[in-house]
Amino acid sequence: MALLHIDNLHAAADEKPILNGISLTVNAGEVHAIMGPNGSGKSTLAQVLAGHEAYDVTAGSISFAGEDLLDMEAEERAWAGLFLAFQYPVEIPGVSNAYFLRQGYNEIRKARGLDELDPIDFYDLLEEKLKVVEWGPEIMERAVNFGFSGGEKKRNEILQMAVLEPKLAILDETDSGLDIDALRIVANGVNTLRGPEKAIIVVTHYQRLLNYIVPDFVHVIAGGRIVRSGGKELALELEEKGYEWLTSEAAVA
């Protein structure tokens, strides 16, 4: 059974159609890359999957781990094992990273009928996860994303992903704005999460990331549709030729 199955998804914001019939199947163990021009609907797809209320699904369906995803609140999707690393992570002044992560971790455990971790046990877990992103403990006392640099915010998303251990992680341009070292760290973080039970969708503009996180499939979204799917070679082809040839094809179609 597919982990994620998107069928003919149409979505709009403020009555403006953005997604115009997306179909995509992601099986456990797979890595899918989504590429495409600015404004083509990549983040919208990611946000619709995560449960953002700004978007109305006007047609189509999404099943996740056998359940109707569109029937679930955003937090229920997180409980079910879906995680979105935001293109623009949100700042929460007044809440420490450590507290925030522990709350999220425990809410998910509670929803799954598991015992909550107390702060001390959680701290042990956190120490392990901090290694994934090569961070010291100092960052945990800072307010969530507050005053973080662009790169630190992205790295913090990966830390959250490492702690919450989702079944499906969607990374929306997590590589944008990262320096070479941070890119390697983030990619390593993602790779440690790979596994036969898990799947990853990476939204990116750069083939560079895909050297680190090698995808099984590459999809190109343009005008709210998937206009081309292929193997990892497609990313190289895009790097060379740009999107023009695909988007004009789509316009014709």
């Binding site: 955003a74 937090e75 007044g94 925030f100 992560l101 959250q160």
Partner: protein, 435 residues
């Protein structure tokens, strides 16, 4: 004397006047009574009280507190902070030595009940009582002068750093029902001296009563006072408090005021600068629910050059509750290089809560930096969504974000024991407000 017989609080004033008094105290009480008779209870036509419905106070009859049932020290433990801190406890307005802790005071630190200090003929009391906060400031300072019963006297000698905070705990019990409690504080910190003060109004009853309290504070040159004011009266109670702070040059006054009790609670905090390089830091948090009204009126009189003031007040309002914030910053024409910043932020947890916020800057000097900002808003939907995507939804997210809103100002409580205690208290209340 029919006219005075129907005057609000006439009986209480008459009883106080009849008690044995001589000299300056009798004059003070008489002047207070006269002033109050002139002014009466303010109405909404009075600009200072426009949004603060105190009218009902004039129609109610408050008596003197009944005889309090004996209290065990453990009954006070939820309200007391440090172990062994010098403490004056007032039960239903009356000083209770057995519950207070006034032994082994450090050298240079005098802590007594105010009535004892008066009886002892302490000259510093006469010099400040009714003179730092005068009867003409508000009708309620006049009423206080006419009727105050007891309270706290603290004096820290020049150059002395008080090793622990001093506390006043004013607790209401069932004997306070339908009564007025009128505590008063005189706090004097000498030149180069330092003190930390915790002033608490707490309750062991759900009855209706009225606390009318006045604190008079004088800071000598280069003195420091760290003042925490905790108002957690019965939610049926009325609370009107007035804090007047006079600051000599180079002195530093810092107040954190928590207001979470009372059906109507008003707090005025006024500071006057008598020398240069004075610093005034005012922080506050008010939490309201039901039909509570919480009112903060701050007034900083920048009368001297090169002084700074910094204010951060935050409020969280649920249900049909209301808050009033009025922040006056008055910069005299000689007060050049004044640096004053005022922030008031309000978080509404319901559609029916209301805030009347009014920054009031009156600036007569030209080389100053004065800013203010007031916001009234709801929880940020982006933040809520982000929390949801991390598995934190519903009430949990609301609680977390509401706490985050309050945490910024809670962090300004400098005494660790007080901060930890109040954090737990505020946490619990916020959880109640959001559920």
């Amino acid at each position: 004397m029919n006219a005075t017989a129907t005057m609000p609080f006439a009986d209480l004033i008459a009883t106080t006047q009849a008690s044995e008094m001589t000299g300056w105290l009798a004059d003070l009480r008489e002047a207070g009574a006269a002033r109050f008779a002139e002014e009466g209870i303010p109405t909404s036509r009075d600009e200072e009280w426009r949004f603060t419905p105190v009218g009902p106070l004039g129609k109610m009859t408050f008596r003197a507190p009944a005889v309090s049932a004996p209290l065990d020290r453990t009954a006070l433990s939820p309200f007391a902070f440090g172990d062994g801190w010098p403490t004056v406890v007032l039960v239903d307005g009356r000083f209770v030595p057995e519950l207070s802790r006034l032994d082994a005071l450090p050298d240079g630190v005098v802590v007594t009940s105010l009535a004892e200090a008066i009886a002892a003929g302490e000259p510093a009391v006469e010099a400040h009582l009714g003179r730092t906060a005068t009867a003409d400031q508000t009708p309620f300072t006049a009423l206080s002068a006419a009727t105050f019963a007891d309270g706290l006297f603290v004096q820290v000698s020049a150059g002395v750093v008080a090793p622990t905070p001093v506390q006043l705990i004013s607790v209401a019990t069932d004997a306070a029902a339908e009564a007025m409690l009128a505590p008063r504080l005189v706090v004097l910190v000498g030149a180069n001296a330092e003190l930390s003060l915790v002033e608490s109004y707490v309750t062991l009853t759900e009855a209706t009563y009225f606390t009318n309290t006045v604190a008079e504070v004088h800071l000598g040159a280069n003195a420091r006072l760290d003042h925490t004011r905790i108002m957690r009266e019965s939610e049926a109670a009325w609370h009107i408090g007035f804090t007047q702070v006079d600051q000599e040059q180079d002195s530093h006054y810092r107040e954190f005021a928590l207001a979470m009790g009372g059906r109507l609670a008003r707090h005025n905090v006024h500071t006057r600068h008598h020398g240069e390089r004075v610093e005034t830091l005012l922080y506050g948090l008010y939490l309201t629910r039901g039909e509570q009204v919480a009112d903060t009126h701050s007034a900083i009189f920048h009368d001297q050059p090169n002084c700074n003031s910094w204010e951060v007040y935050k409020g969280v309002l649920a249900d049909d509750s209301r808050a009033v914030f009025n922040g006056k910053v008055l910069v005299d024409r000689i007060a050049q290089k004044t640096d004053a910043k005022q922030t008031n932020r309000n978080l509404l947890l319901s559609d029916t809560a209301r805030v009347d916020a009014k920054p009031q800057l009156e600036i007569f000097a030209d080389d100053v930096r004065c800013t203010h900002g007031a916001t009234i808003g709801k929880l940020n939907p982006q933040q809520r969504y982000y929390l949801k995507t991390r598995g934190i939804g519903g009430k949990k997210a609301e609680q977390l974000l509401t706490w985050a809103f309050a945490a910024e100002v809670m962090a300004e409580i400098t005494q660790p024991a007080v901060r930890v205690g109040l954090e737990a208290l505020v946490h619990q209340r916020l959880d109640e407000l959001t559920s």
